[in-house]
């Protein structure tokens, strides 16, 4: 139940939004000359990576505008909101080492429920 800062409407509950999956995947212009594999990459394949992830979101129950969101999918931390057509800003975040790594805090997952000996508060 995190909050999203819509670039047009401001901060709203996530239930007003619809996630459209990975951002920055441009629809190919010359699809006829693409191989099946290349086309399938565009249609079906998404990184779905843990950690920093650029996503498309739509303020479905609000202004209905699409925008981009940079989110740490391990912690739901929103790192940046930017408009369609813009490139993702570089923002520092705790990048879990994939595939099984964890951000040091925030995921609630088993590996980070407890503090490790000597870990600072």
């Amino acid at each position: 139940m995190f909050l999203i800062e819509c670039p047009w409407c401001g901060e709203r509950d996530m239930s007003e939004f619809h996630c459209g999956g990975e951002a920055h995947i441009a629809r190919p212009d010359q699809s006829e000359s693409m191989t099946d594999e290349e086309w399938a990459q565009f249609v079906f394949m998404r990184k779905n990576s843990k950690g920093r992830y650029a996503e498309r979101w739509n303020h479905a129950a609000g202004c209905r505008r699409w925008f981009n969101l940079l989110r740490n999918t391990a912690t739901d931390q929103i790192l940046a909101v930017y408009r369609m057509g813009e490139t993702a800003p570089s923002v520092a975040t705790d990048e879990p080492v994939t595939p099984s790594g964890e951000a040091p805090i925030g995921s609630g997952n088993d590996a980070v429920k407890l503090m490790k000996p000597g870990e600072a508060l």
Partner: protein, 1017 residues
Amino acid sequence: MAASRQKTGLRTQQGGRINRDKPVSFTFDGKTYQGFEGDTLASALLANGQHMVARSFKYHRPRGIVAAGAEDPAAIVQIGPDAVETDPNTRVTEQEIFEGLRASAQNCWPSLSFDIGIANDVFSDFFPAGFYYKTFMGPPLSWMRFEPFIRKAAGLGVAPTDRDPEQYDSTNRHADVLVVGAGPAGLAAAKAAADAGARVILVDETNAIGGALLSEPEGSVSLGSKPADVAIQKMVDELHANPDVTVLTRTTAFGYYGDNFVGLWERVTDHLAPTDRVTHMPRQRVWRVRAKQVILATGALERPMVFDGNDRPGIMLAGAVRTFLNRYGVLCGRMAVIFANNDSAWATAFDLQDAGAQIAAIVDIRRNLSGALLQKAAHRGIPIHAGSAIVGTKGRSHVAAAGIRVLDASGMISSKANWIECDLIANSCGWAPNVALFSQSRGKLFYDDDLKAFRPGASWQQERSVGAANGAYDLQDCLDEGRNAGAAAAADAGFKKRIPRVLKASHTMLVQRDLQIMPQIPSPKAAKKVRAFIDLQDDVTTKDIKIAIQEGLHSVEHIKRYTTTGMGTDQGKIANLNAFAFIADHLGKSVPDVGVTTFRQPYKPVTMGALAGQHVGAHFMPRRTTAMHPWHKAQRDVVFEPVGDWLRPRAFLREGEDFHQAVQRETKAARTGIGVLDASTLGKIDVRGPDAREFLNRIYTNAWSKLAPGKCRYGLMLKEDGMVMDDGVTACLADDHFHMTTTTGGAANVLGHLEDYLQTEWPDLKVYLTTTTEQTAVASICGPGCDRLVADLLDDVDPDPETFKFMDWRDAHIQGIPVRVFRISFTGELSYEINIDASYGLWLWKKIFALADSEGGTYDITPYGTEAMHVLRAEKGFIIVGQDTDGTATPFDLGMNWIVKKSGDFVGRRSLSRSDTSRDDRKQLVGLVTEQPDFVLMEGTQIIGSKDEGAVPVVMLGHVTSSYFSPNLGRSIAMAMVERGQGRAGETLYASRKGEAPMAVRVVGTDFLKERSDGTI
């Protein structure tokens, strides 16, 4: 042995935070009891000597009241006057009594005191850890055979038999500072935050403010210069007087979610007698709170000792015994044995003695006790057994004696048993911060070696834990932490920093000191015979956990699932830490190395009613109705059906007709007389802008460049994967202006799809989309010669089909009201769709029917519903997206090659030539006619290639998507997706049927009207 226990007179002469002027009577298991206003069901039953209130989940062992609050594991009962207004699994420690309250024991038959299920206890060796996994590993059917019996034997309460007649509500709230828990720390925090000017919400899950202070004898603690009770009341009064502060009692913070979103569950009227409940008040209310800052002052929970025979009623947590005594004025026993590993339980002994109970012994596993403590007990003449433990108990449905033995330095038994008669064992294995909400907030816990418990470490959200929830058990520490956190939270929420006033507490409380943990008290019995319970609700003993470990399960999460420890309605609030410590001990690891199970929302069970709130019945999913709905509703007998969000008439039944007959009549009338359909629900999107035409070219599979104003065209829309997503007719209003229609259910999706492409892929296109579905009402008029009716309606346009051609549209007027008439058809019959401003929809509809012969007009007009519409379109072979397609059909699969343009890109084009979509053995849409013309196939019927089903697995060629009896063709018709279907025309296939031989069917084209005129059917 139980001679010392008396059933009555356990209420103290004075004291307790109850209203002794207001007696309340209630029933438990049919017997009437007396209590006082302010009692919980637990305190009132205890006052009547009734400890045993339930039977356990698995072994049906007697279960008594162990704790005094939400953490109690197994004292759960069924509440309510009848089978409808009933709540299972209600904790007796939380349910307040009211006049006429009816409670009953659950999970026992025939009665609480004599329960047949106790047989499970005798055969407990056959129900070890992992019983379910081991016993039901056979073929899948064996579980299905056993499950009903197991469920019956091992159930908890009984679900209501009918829909809940109560009202529930929910509300949203923003707060600067939300404080959970109104004990000394929470109260101090709320006050400091409120004094700084913050909007504060303070919640407590009990009926009163004060927390642990309410468990202290009245007058024994003072805050500032006043007795605690007076000081608390003053603070509460101040908070109530502050308009920016909301104080909620009987309110549980059940879930801590992202960005400081916290769910609160308020029991508004559960504590009131039905006659005192105000009818407009909801029974319960969920508060959805978004707080800038959260302060968790959720206190600490006491751990029970784990020893053989520790589950008998009358064995209670020492802190709970004090709470029942000091908050409710109830003696939990007259002859008590205290069993402790820390100082706090000794306070229970002293308070009990002051209230008139005898303390048979204080048994403390610590060998070295503080001199002050010993002196105080000795002064009171209490027998002390230091370095000793209770290693066994006696008693049937209530504890009657405690077996005490001396332990040696290594914690082993070193003496003979000393049996002491008692009717109460008050035990304490120390206190653990209640970190559930903190952990839900994704903060990290750390193991505090002094507390021998986990407490909050690094925070993840804007949250602070204070007081006992943070491991501070001293009253002054609680007040100081709360005060500082309240001030800091207000400052972080943007309020001016203020240094709040210090509140001094008098120190007379005995708190946990010099804690010494023994994960399991030793027993002289053979290990096999020891029954030391860790989880009292789920009947998990140390033996079960040992078995799990022996069988190779070493992770706490695995052991939890294998043994069910920490599951159930209490989620192991007092059991978990003991389980972790026992596992750690057994594995030779430290507790933090073993770790914790995950604390998940909700903190405790929340009723489904409260979560649903007002979203029930008609509010569950509001139905949209058309402008003509009042007319539909007024018909003699109309059957409605939900379509998307809409409620549409499915058929209009005439006198003496059943549904099927009505549909047949309506379907026939649309091809013989004049049929009128309310088509207002079709999605309509206004597409406008200089690039609108180009946009349609890219969105639809066909070409739109040459569609002239005044003309319409059918379009098919694909997703990028090449699968059909929607269809509809779009009209060109002007070169830069189109009127698009979509399916009723797909309107919102289509608009979203179009917006997505416009905003993200083609922002260079100047196109504007507006949904106009609800602005326009549509009457679809259909039937041979219906042009005469339309001519009578229109002021200024001649509908003559010779000049007003198929797929044309015209602007026209009806009595001066502008309308737009489309000559389009979903039936194959001559048809006009009249679009009018929705506010004139009903007027238009009535105007049409005023021309019917039944109304004195000259036309044979029949209103028809969606079912007849389905039959009519199927007769013509038109698809319904979502019925004949399921997201796996391309235009080619549907035999609609004609609608795919030869050149130019569109959404989904490239996918049509993928190897998978272009393979020749795909399922394709065909028409089917049954060998028996009057037999109507069931939709979903599997199509097979042979007369007999043969051996499993039977090769399925496809399935029936639409099937009807067509009155116009006088036979049944069906559409189906069949493998290589387009090449099978004339072939005989078979439709599988349950319990009957497959029915022969012939493959034909999907346009059944054409097939008839061609003579094929």
